[in-house]
Amino acid sequence: MKSMQMKALALAVLGLAGFGVAGSAMACDATNLAAWNGGVAAITGGTVTAVAPGLDASACAMSSSLGTGATSQASVIDTSPNNEPRYRFQFLVDPNAHVTNLTAQDSVALFTATNQTAAHGRKTIIQVFLVPTSTAGIDRISFSYSCNNGTTYRCIHTSPVNLVSGVNRIEFDVQMATSGANGSIRYWINAPAGGTEPAPSDSVTGIDNSAWVGTKLASLGLGTPAPHWSSAHHGEAVLFDTFDSRRQTYIGH
């Protein structure tokens, strides 16, 4: 099937270098985030800025930190998805550069994709979280996703794969069900270089999520802090870079 790239928004230079002034050093400022057509959501003490250097040898990365409030958010928003029944997304994240070691009480959202309208009281298709492991300084991701479980309509999966210290490349392939429970979520954590899709790091299959139609909005950056994150990690920045989203084909690198 034809590869259909939806969005390649480097929070840094990748998508914006063409607008830079030839021969000049590129500054990292609000213009680096201007390509996000939903704007910046810096709410309740949340802070979103462009900082140097980038995470992929580019000039800039996005720095996201939260305030002390439970409703704090620090993200950029993409409104270009069009109720996508299949949505692949990839981003780089460095959770350790400025964040002290997480404890068992810590978690914070890194990315959220939502449907246009609510089904069973929910719009969120998937929300990816940063969570700790039992080893100090080693983190993982977990994600909640809409599912027709007949009660909460919200399922949770924790990755068995550790993140590495420093920059991590995270890619997801979210497929909405077309019949019954045939939706799926596959993901890759630090996949080897190359454009050929390797076996995923892990996956969840058998998801009945057709009621949520497809991705309409995407939000990259911190949100949904656990209380301990708000108290112990407010103001600590997580770095993001090189967001890419597609309808069909593996993104890779």
Partner: protein, 188 residues
């Protein structure tokens, strides 16, 4: 939406305090905050302000594309705010409190004019607050500084979003003049 009994109770409180308020409603029929030239309050209970004394329904399942507010009972106000820093808006903060210990009363203020805008929950994003941090109504917060129509959604926070029992009483307070235009209010 509100039942008559609650509305009458609200009006009783009005005469006692000198302020006029009605508890929140829904995106389709939002509650109102009435004009006031001084500090004021509004209150309600998302556990009991629904039809027949039941919990209110969830109205905004996602706020600002990044906050999952699913399932939780909510109440909605629609307000037309003057520009921050003008004589029409001398209030500098909007706060929320609750006596329900298990309820993390939170509020979400964002621009919008239609019930669809309300149900979408942004973007455009506004600002949010909870029991520990209110909403800045000064010019410092560009998201809510301009004059215009806003929705104010009252509910629980992101972590409590997924339980229908994440509800309780709340009390809104603004610390100085926050003149707002009356909006239509329907009683179910």
């Amino acid at each position: 939406m509100k039942n008559i009994a609650t509305l009458l109770l609200a009006c009783t409180c009005v005469s006692a305090t000198g302020f006029v308020y009605a508890a929140g409603g829904t995106c389709a029929a939002p509650g109102t905050l009435s004009p006031t030239n001084a500090a004021g309050t509004a209150s309600g209970n998302t556990c009991t302000d629904g039809t027949g004394g039941t919990a209110t329904a969830n109205q905004v399942a996602t706020y600002c594309a990044g906050q999952d507010l699913s399932s939780q009972p909510q109440e909605v106000y629609k307000v037309s705010l003057a520009a921050a820093g003008t004589a029409g808006r001398t209030a500098t903060s909007l706060t929320i409190s609750s006596t329900t210990a298990s309820f993390s009363a939170s509020m979400y203020l964002f621009p919008g004019t239609t019930s669809t805008d309300c149900a979408t929950g942004g973007p455009p994003c506004g600002n949010a607050g909870d029991k520990t941090a209110g909403i800045d109504l000064t010019t410092a917060d560009a998201n809510v500084a301009t004059a215009g129509t806003y929705y104010l959604v009252i509910g629980a926070n992101q972590l409590e979003a997924h339980a229908a029992t994440a509800c309780g009483d709340y009390n809104l307070a603004w610390n100085n003049a926050l003149p707002v235009k009356l909006q239509g209010f329907s009683v179910q």
